[in-house]
Amino acid sequence: MTREPHARSRAGRALVVALTWPCLSLVGCSQAAVLRGRIDGLTLDVANAEKNGAMRCAPRELALAKSHLRFATTELDQGQVSTAEAQLTIAEPNARAALSQSPPERCAERKIIETVVVEDKDTDGDHIPDSRDQCILEPEDVDGYLDEDGCPDPDNDADGIPDKDDKCPTQPEDIDGFQDADGCPDPDNDNDTVPDVDDLCPNTPGQPGGSKPGCPGLVVVTAKEIRITQQIHFEFNKATIRSESFPILDAVVQVLKDNQKMMLEIQGHTDNVGSASYNQKLSQSRADSVRTYLIGHGIEASRLRSTGYGLTQPIVPNSSDANRALNRRVQFIRTEGAP
C-alpha cells in the first residue's frame, strides 16, 4: 500500500524524462542546424569578400571573420552550440564588413601595368631636369631673368656689359659716350628734359624747342648766376655796348621779368693790360652801362647792383690773348639769396 505512491512518482518522472529528452534533443539539433546554416552563409560571404580583394581592402576584418568561423565550426563539431554561437557573433559582423569594404571595382586584383620610370637627370646641377633644360651642361644663373630654360644669361640686356658689372642688368646701356660703363641707359644726359634723341646738345643743358632744341640759348640760369653764352662786347676802351650784344642783354631782361624775385650783381672784369686803377674804372663804368640798359628795358633799379672788379678776379691767367679775352667779361651773379 505504501509503495504505490512511490511507484507512481517514479513512473511519472520516467515519463517526463522520456518526453523531455527527445524534445531537448530536437531543439539542440535544430539550433545546431541553424548555426551550421549561418556558418555556411558566412563562409560564402567570406569567400566572396576574399575574391573581391578583401585581403587588400579589409584584411583585419577578413582575418577575424575567417578565424572565428573556424572556431565556430570546431565548437559546433564538438557540440558546443553556445560557444559556437558566441564565435559567430564575432565572425558575422567582420564577414559583412569584409564584404562591404571590398568592392571588386576597387579592390579586386588588377593586372599590374609595369611602368618604366626613366630617371630624369640634372647634369649641370641647376635643379632643372635635363628633359626641360636647354643647356644641360651650363647651369642656369637664377637671377629672375629667363630662369626656366636652364641656360645662363650672363648679360640679360645684351648691352655688352656683364650682369655682374651692370647696374641695370635688364636695361641696355645707350652707348653714346656718356657714362657708358655703368650699364644703365641715360636717355637725357644733361637732364634738360629734352631727350637725347631730340637734343642737338645732349651733354649741355639747353632749352626745349627752337631751332636748336636742347641747346643752351643766349643765357643759362643756374642757382648762382645768369650765365651768358656769349660775351658782351663794348667799344674799345669805352663803356658803350655794341649792338650785337643787345640780344644777350634782352635775354637777361627776359629772365629777370620771368623771375621777379631774382636780384643781380652786375660784375665788370678786365684783363691786366693797363693800370689797375684804369681797369677798375673801366670795369665799373661798363657794369654801370649794362645796369642802365637793363633798367631801360623795364627792370627795377633796386634789383640790380653794378660793381667793377678791375683786374682783380681773373678766371684764367692773363698769359695769352685768348686768356685775356676770357678775363674781360661781364657776369650776372644772383644775390636774392645772399644775406
Binding site: P59, R60, L62, A63, L64, K66, S67, H68, F71, T74
Partner: protein, 105 residues
C-alpha cells in the same frame, strides 16, 4: 616475437592514450611561447599595418589557443597555437620585406 610485438603495441597504445589524456598540454606549451614571441616581433615590426591579414589571423588564433588551453582543451589549443605560429612567422617575413623595400634596415 609475439611477446615483443605485444609489448610494442602496448607501448604505442600507452603513448596514444597519454596524448589523448592530457600530454597535448606539453605540445601546446612548446608551441604557444614561440607563437607569442613571433607575434610580438611582428607587432614591433609594424606588421599590423604591413601584413595585417597575417598579423590579425595569428593574433586571433593565439588568443583562442590560450582560451582553449585554459579550458584544458589542449588539442584545439595546440592546433590554434600552431596556426598562430605559422601566421606570425608570415607576418614577420612580410613586414621585414616591406622594410627592406623601403630601404630601412
Amino acid at each position: 616475437m609475439q611477446t615483443a610485438f605485444k609489448a610494442l603495441l602496448a607501448v604505442g597504445v600507452l603513448v596514444l592514450e597519454l596524448g589523448q589524456a592530457g600530454c597535448g598540454g606539453v605540445y601546446y606549451a612548446a608551441i604557444v611561447n614561440g607563437a607569442a614571441s613571433k607575434l610580438e616581433e611582428a607587432r614591433v615590426l609594424g606588421a599590423d599595418t604591413l601584413a595585417p591579414y597575417e598579423y590579425y589571423y595569428a593574433k586571433e588564433h593565439l588568443q583562442e589557443a590560450q582560451i582553449e588551453a585554459a579550458e584544458a582543451s589542449y588539442s584545439d589549443a595546440a592546433h590554434y597555437a600552431q596556426t598562430a605560429d605559422e601566421y606570425a612567422e608570415k607576418a614577420v617575413q612580410l613586414a621585414q620585406a616591406a622594410h627592406r623595400a623601403a630601404g630601412r634596415p
